[in-house]
């Protein structure tokens, strides 16, 4: 009886896995089909003769290489900026005593609940005045100082022993040296978590780059993909290869860095 229940349980879980994975498997499968093959009834699940021609078309006539570069610049630039800016601020809020620390931190926490979309219209006007419309820097800006990241790093940095910092000060280390040599190695795990989330968020972002990037040559992958749909919506196989190219980098990153995602969410939330 107990045995039977365990088998049933695994069966239900496996059905769940099939349901969760089928769309993604079909996406890859359709991207390898010949033109028009996916548009038949009943729809084939696997390509009769797999072909890479759509991927070739993406990189030759549709210049997807450029969009990948744009997406990488925005995501990597945003992530590196966030790690430095948020690392410094999170540590300072946890360990450095300065006047106004508590009220400023409480203010930040309160700001965390306001959705970014509320700011988008004035942001556009502001960036237009600054000449940052249609630039990759403009697309990067919302990712540079995530408030939740400051909170995350602060919680982690609280566990750095004060004696260690004090000893370094007595040895004559400057505050920045202390940050670089003692704090940074100590908070490396939480920075890894912050890094994967920022990269993922910047790579997958759509609404803001759609607003701020107006020139085809500046598009990130999601914006380019949505734009291609207008012209090529009938070309299922081509569009699916575009979707695969868009998803693949973050998916591979997830496979290799799984524990940073999963631990980040599971530990971050218990406190919440």
């Amino acid at each position: 009886m107990r045995r039977l229940r365990a088998v049933l349980l695994h069966l239900v879980l496996l059905i769940g896995v099939v349901l969760a994975a089928t769309p993604l498997i079909w996406m890859v499968s359709a991207s390898l089909m010949r033109p028009g093959e996916a548009n038949s009834s009943p729809p084939p699940f696997l390509p009769a003769q797999p072909t890479l021609e759509h991927y070739r078309a993406l990189f030759t006539s549709l210049s997807v290489g450029r969009y990948i570069v744009n997406s990488l610049l925005v995501s990597v630039g945003g992530t590196l900026g966030a790690l430095l800016i948020v690392g410094l601020a999170g540590y300072a809020f946890a360990k450095l005593r300065f006047r106004g620390r508590q009220p400023v931190f409480r203010g930040l926490l309160a700001a965390m609940v306001i959705p970014g979309q509320v700011a988008m219209l004035p942001m556009f006007i502001l960036l237009r005045e600054l000449g940052l419309v249609n630039t990759l820097v403009g697309a990067m800006i919302p990712f540079l100082a995530p408030v939740y990241g400051i909170f995350l790093v602060r919680q982690y940095a609280l566990s750095i022993p004060d004696d260690l910092l004090q000893a370094a000060r007595l040895d004559g280390a400057t505050e920045f040296q202390i940050f670089r040599l003692i704090v940074l190695p100590g908070i490396a795990p939480v920075l890894a978590t912050l890094g994967v989330f920022t990269f993922l968020g910047a790579w997958n972002d759509f609404m803001w780059p759609l607003i701020i990037l107006s020139d085809d040559a500046k598009y990130t992958l999601p914006v380019a993909l949505a734009n291609l749909t207008g012209e090529h919506v009938q070309d299922v196989e081509l569009m699916m290869s575009g979707a695969v190219v868009t998803v693949l980098p973050v998916f591979i990153a997830f496979l290799f860095l799984q524990r940073y995602y999963i631990q980040g969410i599971m530990t971050g939330s218990v406190k919440g």
Binding site: V17, A20, L24, Q117, L126, A145, A226, T246
Partner: protein, 297 residues
């Protein structure tokens, strides 16, 4: 010496937080305040040409908003997504977490990762993918339900089905995230509570009802409210899958704001929709805080 040290520390503290505060101040706090100011102006295409062409118009934009039928349609569609999709998504997450967490399950990390995988994908790419899955003639979904003699359904072409279809995509994409939060909550429940309940002769349902649910309560409230708040922001799914149609049945508040602001360049008017989003989020947060206080007291 202590005094000198703490001055240096104080100076370093401000130096370390200044880059973050400057960015947040200029590119977040200022624009959020700007959204309120903007909503009282007639900022439009002419203002983009020369900011001098902007005037304060008082509450005219709000009067305009409340008499625009599409606003009420968008509000209704957004609430539909929030009130139906939100609870459904939380329920699926909780069910998945309970299954994965069951004691006899092997390969837990595999199931956990497989259910989480859709969450890391790019929304635009999978919204496009599901657009094809929902194709009335060649789509996978109609082929699948056809096996059981059902359908075909014009998922995205029928105003009655378009929003449920978007909800299904978003449950599929997002349930893995909340599942992880529930798993963390479940793992924090002490094993002894279950053992004690079993000794008292409680069956599986009673253990769930009298141990799991009360112990998971705060997590449930947290997940529920956060899901609700983020659901108000739905934009990409209708943009990619339906462009707000058919018959405006999937036009959401953010899609409406985007079109007014960046297609028709009526930024002053669009800012009122941003204010509405702000107020909805604020209401959600207040509800959350009240719930938490009740749960604690």
């Amino acid at each position: 010496m202590t005094v000198g040290g703490s001055t240096a520390e104080s100076r370093a503290g401000w130096a370390f937080v200044t880059p973050a505060l400057a960015l947040i101040g200029i590119f977040f706090v200022l624009p959020v305040a700007g959204a309120f100011v903007l909503s009282f102006t007639d900022f439009d295409l002419y203002s983009i040409g020369g900011p001098g062409n902007t005037r304060f118009v008082g509450l005219a934009n709000y009067r305009d908003l409340l008499t625009t039928p599409l606003f009420w349609t968008a509000l209704r569609n957004t609430l539909y997504f929030v009130l139906v999709g939100g609870p459904l998504s939380v329920a699926v997450s909780l069910a998945a977490a309970l299954l994965v967490n069951a004691r006899t399950v092997r390969l837990k990390p595999f199931f956990r990762a497989a259910f989480f995988a859709p969450w890391v994908t790019t929304l635009v790419a999978v919204a496009l993918l599901w657009r094809y899955i929902y194709h009335p003639q060649y789509g996978l979904l109609n082929a699948a339900i056809g096996v059981f003699g059902l359908g075909p359904v014009d998922w995205l072409g029928d105003p009655a089905w378009a929003m449920p279809s978007i909800i299904l995509l978003s449950v599929w994409k997002n349930f893995g995230y909340n599942m992880l939060i529930f798993l963390a909550g479940l793992q924090a429940i002490p094993e002894e509570l279950y053992e004690a309940a079993s000794l008292d002769g409680a069956g599986a349902w009673h253990r769930f009802r009298h141990v799991t649910v009360p112990m998971l309560g705060p997590t449930l409230v947290f997940v529920g409210i956060v899901t609700m708040i983020t659901s108000f922001q739905i934009f990409s799914e209708p943009y990619v899958m339906t462009q707000g149609g058919p018959l405006k049945s999937t036009t959401t508040l953010m899609l409406f704001m985007y079109e007014e602001g960046f297609r028709w360049w009526r930024l002053g008017f669009a800012a009122t929709i941003a204010v509405v989003l702000f107020l909805l989020t604020l209401a959600g947060t207040v509800v959350q805080l009240r719930f938490r206080r009740e749960a604690q007291g």
